[in-house]
Assembly symmetry: C2
Homo-oligomer: 181 residues x 2
């Protein structure tokens, strides 16, 4: 779930729960099985995993997006990553069972799922390509250009690991770009 869903949510109000949580709330812990998907009404969320004791962020989500550990939610396997709020957030929380009910009640939505997954595939493919093709500086410049909202709302340390570099290195790149102006 990454794109805004076309679901008529109010119709299914009895099947989901609206929750408000503070910043740094863990919605799903790495290694546990995902039983809920979330839809972000307000706030920012990141996916990260533990890497030799360090915290590596690999994806951000914002208002209007659905979040889950997609592979765990679908396959029932333990999640590769933790889902955690960055800021205080309002979320719709839906269990797997109830989401299935909703999806089956919305004609044509099940067919749409393939399209949603396809576009997420493209997104990760492009992220992988950017990673082997571009330098960290180029990836940072692309982030500023294409997704400036991330920069405004996410602490730089998380952005650094998302770019595959350390906060120190990101700081140097920012310094360099500023001097060049």
């Amino acid at each position: 779930m990454t794109t805004p869903s076309p679901i008529n949510w109010p119709k299914y109000q009895h099947l989901y729960e609206e929750i408000s949580v503070p910043a740094k709330t863990v919605l799903l812990e790495e290694g546990k099985t995902s039983r809920y998907a979330y839809y972000i009404v307000e706030g920012a969320v990141r996916l990260w995993f533990n890497n030799k004791g360090k915290d590596t962020t690999f994806q951000f989500f914002f208002e209007g997006e659905g979040v889950s550990s997609i592979e765990s939610f679908r396959t029932g396997q333990p999640s590769m990553c933790t889902i955690e709020t960055i800021s205080a957030a309002r979320l719709l929380k839906v269990s797997k069972e109830n989401l299935d009910l909703i999806i089956d009640s919305e004609p044509g939505f099940r067919a749409n799922l393939e399209g949603i997954i396809f576009h997420r595939l493209l997104r990760y493919t492009k992220m992988f390509i950017a990673q082997i093709r571009d330098t960290p500086q180029e990836r940072y410049e692309a982030l500023i250009r294409d997704q400036p909202h991330i920069l405004q709302r996410v602490p730089l340390q998380y952005i650094a690991s998302y770019l595959g570099i350390t906060p120190v290195s990101l700081s140097r790149i920012r310094n360099k770009l500023q001097r060049e102006k």
Copy 2:
């Protein structure tokens, strides 16, 4: 198309063409629209794109796998990458139209497509994560461990760009690992 398809191919012999091509044959050129998908009977194929004049490989395919520029084949947009044989190859070549005919004739296959795309999504997600989490040396060691067949059949220069490094750097890593034994 990345997983071996469950299609009963002989039944549809009139809808595809079996071709034999030498090494370094371009099956699809970057920037052009993909009109054919291929199934590899024998041989090795890589996907690469032009990166500031340099050749960057980002995926390999072998016997029993289907190959296409998946996003171009599906959306009709120009391909991000070139598809090229690494070695001499025997291939089944299917047009988009005929593949649709075949898929529609095989009950349940259309539904399977979502699963195929889902698993390819997982694969790219894991490649992206490995890229921001692991060092080039760790990625090379994982390649030896998990996909040794690639190492046996693909020139090291292509593997280097697949790992996101230069052939020189890969050579140093190989030298270092050998000395450590």
